[in-house]
């Protein structure tokens, strides 16, 4: 199939037939906010931050999973979308205990920078303040459920890139939790290879390296894309 042309935010852009609205926008230098999407992993469609308006259609579409079509007219940041995004980030901040000042990821957190970028200065929702454990049974890494936003990047990295599928989600709704193996302490997991890809993928301070200072807690989020490109295209692009 031939290349497609479409309009994103009034700008005429080209896209490969296999592109999604998100990847086409990225190529064209148009930034669509995301939290659960990460280059190198399959699209999840869960955070709903990348919702865009297409044409005069009232139904919003997630940019990360919607394929491009010829002559599509996409708007990525109408007032309605921005308002929804603010509300989604506020919902996340109220859902668990996101206390940046005492968080290991302070300054390197995607949720934090997203809140700043969208101008979320106050939360009108009730803080749920759940009591959640921190799992530091692993030798090198830790899992703090208080900071988890359930984006499942770690689950997908573990399954799709490392192939271990140590991590998964248990429970449902607001009670969902990331678990190692059959919900046992991470350190007791027999499948974990300690590769740390989950830690690199995590957008917040939910997964962290033990022994690193806050200033050192920078994560390499391009690592997964690098691995995928190396494996599939045999190209070592840094």
């Amino acid at each position: 199939m031939a290349t497609q042309t479409l309009t994103i935010d009034g700008k005429l852009v080209t896209a490969r037939p296999e592109d999604t609205i998100l990847s086409a926008s990225k190529d064209a230098g148009i930034d669509i906010p995301t939290l659960c999407y990460l280059d190198g992993l399959s699209a999840h469609g869960g955070c709903r931050l990348c919702m865009v308006e297409v044409g005069s259609q009232n139904r919003l579409l997630p940019a990360c999973t919607t394929p491009v079509r010829e002559d599509m007219n996409v708007s990525t940041s109408t007032p309605r979308l921005v308002e929804y995004r603010r509300m989604i980030v506020a919902l996340l901040l109220a859902e668990r205990n996101h206390v940046c000042s005492v968080c290991v990821a302070n300054g390197h957190c995607e949720l934090q920078s997203m809140a700043y970028a969208l101008g979320v200065t106050h939360v009108r929702f009730e803080y749920l303040s759940p009591e959640l454990p921190v799992d530091v049974s692993h030798d090198r890494y830790g899992m703090d459920h208080n900071r988890c936003i359930l984006c499942t990047r770690c689950v997908r990295a573990c399954d799709q890139i490392e192939g271990a599928h140590t991590l998964d989600v248990m429970g449902r709704g607001v009670n969902s939790r990331i678990v190692a193996d059959m919900n046992q302490p991470w350190g007791d997991s027999v499948t974990c290879t300690s590769c740390g890809k989950c830690v690199q993928a995590c957008p917040t301070g939910a997964l962290f390296r033990q022994g690193s200072t806050v200033a050192e807690m920078e994560k390499d989020r391009t690592m997964l894309q690098f691995l995928v490109t190396a494996r599939e295209k045999k190209q070592w692009l840094v």
Binding site: I88, A94, V174
Partner: protein
Amino acid sequence: MDLQDLRELAEKERRSQAPRSIRCCVAAGCTSANSMAVLDNLQQAVQDAGLKDKVHVSPVGCLRLCCEGPLVATDPDGHLYHKVAPGDAEAIVAGLGNGGFAARRGDAASPFFALQASVVLDNCGHVEPERIETYIARDGYTALFKVLREMSPPQVVDEVTRSGLRGRGGAGYPTGVKWSMVAKNQGDRKFVVCNADEGDPGAFMNRSLLESDPHKVLEGMAIAAYAVGASSGYIYVRGEYPLAIARLKTAIKQAGRLGLLGTHRCNSPFDFRIDIRIGAGAFVCGEETALMASIMGERGLPTPRPPYPAEKGLWGCPTLINNVETFANIPAIMRQGADWFAGIGTDSSKGTKVFCVTGKVKNTGLVEVPLGTPLRTIVEDIGGGVPGNGRIKAVQTGGPSGGCIPAQHLDTSVDYEALGQLGSIMGSGGMIVMDEGTDMVDVARFFMTFCMDESCGKCIPCRAGTVQLTHLLTRIIDKVATPQDLELLESLCDMVKNASLCGLGQTAPNPVLSTLRYFRDEYTSRLRAGGVVRRALALPLVSLS
């Protein structure tokens, strides 16, 4: 088996029927009221009276008036007995042919029965769900033979399209269009899936149908498989329906043994096997993409559509997913023709619909009426209105995805469009009647709590949004909410509705929106004055580079 064998089997079964019969309901409702003991005693009483050759006692499916169960009917007397105790068996047998047993006799000609129409439920309460012969004796599986011998797959699809049948699971998508999509999509394999994951509070249509007449659903699926070119099918039943599962298993086994399902079914070159998959209690698995994930052995999480199941469904193959009741309509359409079916109902909503009338209403049970019947007829004439001369305040349709229709709109015709205009939906058929004493905000909170508990947790608007909506509704009920809370409730409803991933989240705000639309004063009268409650954010006040 070929058509001749089928006809002979039907004839044999009809000949063997005794001149008199006593039908005892053994669907879940009556069974839980001890109808199995009633059945045993009836059989014993017939034997004791020496009437074994003259009277046949049959365990049948739902006799519809569930609130009066255990129900027993006698033929050809036409009596219907209510709340039959095991001890009544002898009196019922003694009353055969001579006026019946007055103490338990109900009115079989009451509006509850007289105003109903039967297409989907025509066998319910007549066939024995665990004996395929009784289904065959009532022209069962003749539609399948007709289709396999006389029609091409496109003709079958065309017949369904012309009938105007729309999906009975809730959304009302034209069934013929769905079949046509699956038929036209290319794939190495294709699947037919029956969605029997009925989870709406107060809805038991599919359960009753599967417990009463499982073969009708199997026949509908077999016809669909031929039309779209599928060779295997799944019935996804929720685990909470053990009786339906057991009867389906028996039915599949019996149909397979007679060569009606399986390899070279009905002596034709076509194969079709059906397997049962049992749900583990997640409401979200009624959503088709989550249902497919569950069938494939994965976590029951929805995925964004497109791709639709008709294009990429089970294991990436084109998959047809229809509701139990949709499949149950198919044999009748094939036997009696699309024009006959299209003659029932309204211009855009054809055929009949089964509803479960429950709540503050005299006659609770299973009701089948032509689409376009006024809501008032269903709840006041058939349902008998509120017990003790109370007044109806609202009728909730469509379960947690639907809305409340207030009493002033009771004359609305029950069809897909009219219910949609009122801010509710047809849904799968739950119909909960509420009287004047009902607190509508509490109703909204009940459904929101349900959605919160059943949210899968994949997308944020549904996972975290339903929790906050429940909290806001609780604040309103506790009279601590401010006008700003109500404003926040409305804007959050808007976001959850538009940004959620699947139907569960997208429709979760509907009960709130519809009660706000018709009973806004119940919300506003509980608000207290006050400013915006803003919670300080725990983000540090340093700028990030």
